[in-house]
């Protein structure tokens, strides 16, 4: 077909516009209905990374976006290609990560006829995207592309999807500028600051026992510096959600680590003792506020949040401020007075001393908590850590002291097993100069194990720590504690592959350790490797995550680890403390 020299194909219009928006890398998997797009990609200098499963593409783009703050882009074909993306789309939506998804679709004439590899991608992604569109007219491609990019990055960030029929991709158009959006302005511009900012400042200045409860919003708004200034000026301790880890330096004396279901004892006790709790970019979810009425009920509850729908969604708040943290934090900083709060600060230190993280060490057996603690010490808390979902994820959140924003990559809201390996891949490709570790388990790892091939193909030096306990450990923990030790379908022991051999089969160096005296050597192996590598760590099957607040319960019901319940020598550590790091 002769191409009119002035006209570009719709596919090229989209690719050029992505490029113009700073996109220089994407992850995807081709197929029939996206071939015209891939044909244009062939001539583009956007680096396309071929994954081994579309879910890998979704999570890689997601990991990249989390680690860099830039837009992640993932591409798949129609039908199964698109449906394989869905877990990754839902993950980006619920964790507010800016990722744009592009899916091929059958030709416009075939839509609705149950054509080969047809699925109603538009209809099916409505609840898991901020914005989605089916392009029917080549003249709309530029506008829709720019809307999808802008909406993903604007306000509360999230997932957007563009469904791109095959014939439209190949059709030429003269319209290569987005023109005017068909959207209300408030979808892509920051909201004005509304609510009770002055009341909040006043409450903070008056409070003798204030506590900041930070979430992922601090990271996406890039306000860690302002946060630290406020905290140090006014001596306000900080606790964080799983999503907010890294937004405040983990080693800081005023940091308490994570709160909630598997939060630290000292963070959860501080929640019970504070007189004012201020949520910054967090949403009082069920892992933090299991019992919505009782959560910090002795305190004034305040919430600063960009998405007004999150205010009063689960928990009643006494003071609320709506707006973008990038605009609110400087105002907070200005309004908040210097204060020493000696009593409260010293109480916080006492809480830490009295409620350290504890587990028992048994001669010869590797405790995952200890290995993560050592990794944290040896990397100075400065590595990028990606995790999967389960026990290992919680141990990593508790014992690895994340010191910098965007260094902690975890599927928080969706809790998607299989997230880790592709997310680590995406992160390392976005930040090649930083060390990226994946902490995973034998359950999660097998959900996207095929991405080892992608690591190898592009020579991406991700360092993998695979905890092997032969169980779906988190499921096992709940079954042990709440389901009478009936381990229904949570046992992997007899059917796990030899992970070292699997890794080596993909061309990735691997090593297995199972004894305490092998820990340092194992970490050496990871730290010294210039290529992708895997350390399989054999751990006891019954090792659990503590402390734990059972689902839906009050903070008072927190279960702590009882050192007398098992053999070994008790090891206690306060991961959130300055000065004890080498």
């Amino acid at each position: 077909m002769e191409k009119d020299s002035k006209k570009k194909t719709s596919a090229k219009v989209m690719i050029d516009l992505l490029k113009k928006n700073g996109v220089d890398i994407c992850w995807g998997y081709p197929g029939g209905a996206i071939l015209p797009f891939y044909d244009e990609m062939y001539h583009s200098d956007i680096h396309h990374v071929l994954v081994r499963h579309e879910q890998g593409a979704a999570f890689a783009a997601n990991g990249y976006a989390r680690a860099t703050g830039k837009l992640g882009v993932a591409i798949a074909t129609s039908g199964p290609g698109a449906t394989n993306l869905f877990t990754g789309i839902a993950d980006a939506k619920i964790d507010s990560i800016p990722v744009m998804f592009i899916t091929g679709q059958v030709g416009t004439k075939d839509i609705g006829t149950d054509a080969f590899q047809e699925s109603d991608t538009y209809g099916m992604t409505i609840p898991i995207t901020k914005y989605n569109a089916l392009i029917k007219d080549p003249d709309d491609v530029a506008r829709i592309t720019q809307e999808a990019v802008s909406v993903a990055l604007a306000r509360r960030q999230g997932a957007t999807l563009v469904d791109f029929p095959k014939d439209v991709q190949a059709t030429t158009t003269e319209v290569d500028e987005p023109g005017e959006f068909h959207l209300q302005e408030y979808h892509y511009k920051n909201p004005p600051i509304t609510g009770q900012l002055d009341r909040l400042i006043d409450a903070l200045n008056r409070s003798s026992r204030p506590l900041l409860y930070i979430g992922g919003g601090i990271i996406s708004a890039e306000v860690s510096k302002e946060l630290r200034e406020i905290v140090e000026k006014a001596n306000i301790p900080v606790t964080s959600t799983l999503m907010g880890l890294g937004a405040f330096p983990g080693q800081h004396d005023l940091f308490l680590g994570m709160l909630g279901m598997h939060g630290t004892g000292y963070a959860n006790k501080a929640v019970m003792e504070c007189d004012l709790i201020v949520s910054l970019g967090a949403r009082f979810d069920d892992r933090v506020a299991g019992d919505t009425d009782e959560f910090a009920s002795q305190a004034i509850r305040a919430q600063v949040e960009i998405d007004s729908a999150e205010i009063e969604k689960r928990v009643h708040v006494d003071i609320h401020v709506q707006g973008h943290l990038a605009e609110i934090m400087p105002l907070l900083n200005k309004g908040i007075k210097k204060a020493s709060r000696e009593q409260w600060v010293s109480r916080i230190q006492t809480l830490k001393e009295e409620n350290p993280m504890v587990f028992n060490r048994v001669e010869g057996i590797i405790k995952p908590q200890y290995l993560i603690h050592r990794l944290s010490e040896r990397t100075g808390g400065n590595a990028v850590i990606a995790t999967d979902v389960g026990l290992h994820q919680m141990w990593a959140a508790q014992y690895y002291t994340i010191n910098k924003p965007r260094n902690w990559l975890t599927s928080g809201g969706l809790g998607a097993m299989g997230f880790g390996l592709p997310a680590a891949l995406g992160a390392k490709m976005g930040r090649p100069d930083d060390d990226v570790y994946l902490i995973t388990g034998d359950g999660s790892f097998q959900m996207n194990i095929q991405e080892l091939a992608t690591l190898k193909m592009y020579n991406i030096p991700v360092k993998i720590i695979l905890f092997h306990n032969g169980f779906l450990g988190m499921v096992r923990q709940w079954q042990e504690l709440f389901y009478g030790e009936r381990y229904s379908s949570s046992v992997l022991t007899d059917c796990n592959p030899d992970f070292v051999k699997v890794s080596e089969a993909y061309g990735i160096a691997a090593k297995r350790i199972s004894k305490t005296d092998e820990i340092e050597e194992g970490l050496d192996f990871l730290m010294n490797s210039k290529e992708a590598c895997l350390l399989e760590v054999m751990i006891p099957e019954a090792e659990k995550v503590y402390p734990m607040i059972p689902s839906g319960h009050r903070y008072e019901d927190m279960i702590s680890f009882d050192p007398k319940s098992e053999e070994g020598e008790t090891f206690s550590v306060i991961p959130h403390k300055s000065g004890d790091r080498k």
């Binding site: 209809g123 409505i126 609840p127 569109a133 909406v151 068909h182 209300q184 729908a309 009063e312």
Partner: protein, 161 residues
Amino acid sequence: MKHVLSVLVNNSSGVLSHVTSLFTRRGYNIDSLSVAETENRGISIITMVVDEDRSMVAQIEKQLYKLMDVISIENLSNTDSLERELVLITIKASREKREEILSLVDVFKAHIVDMSEKAVMIELNGNPRRIRTFIQAMTEYGIIRMARTGTVSLPFPSAEE
């Protein structure tokens, strides 16, 4: 309590899916939903009646605002407004019962729009309470078929000024 939400939306093909998907996904109860073009062909008006408490309705409004195609939302239960609904109803009407039915139709200021040997079709518009009462009254004759528009509503201009 019932709340009447009047929502202006872009008249795009996916807009109704987005709105209904939100209600399904978050488990909101919806009593009625009516959709039609406005004087501007690019904009449709959705009138929905939801049966939820005030805080839940506030949450629904905020979630609706997050949908790309939503232009504005007004909770008409907070304003002085007119509510109307239309019902078409076909009921069994034997010769013996006809007189009785006709007098009821008169009382409700409804209209007979068609009639056969065994049935009559009645049209009634009015406020939702009147519609409900009328349907109740017709039940004993035996409803053969029925279609309702759902509530539409607008604030009184005199109340707005």
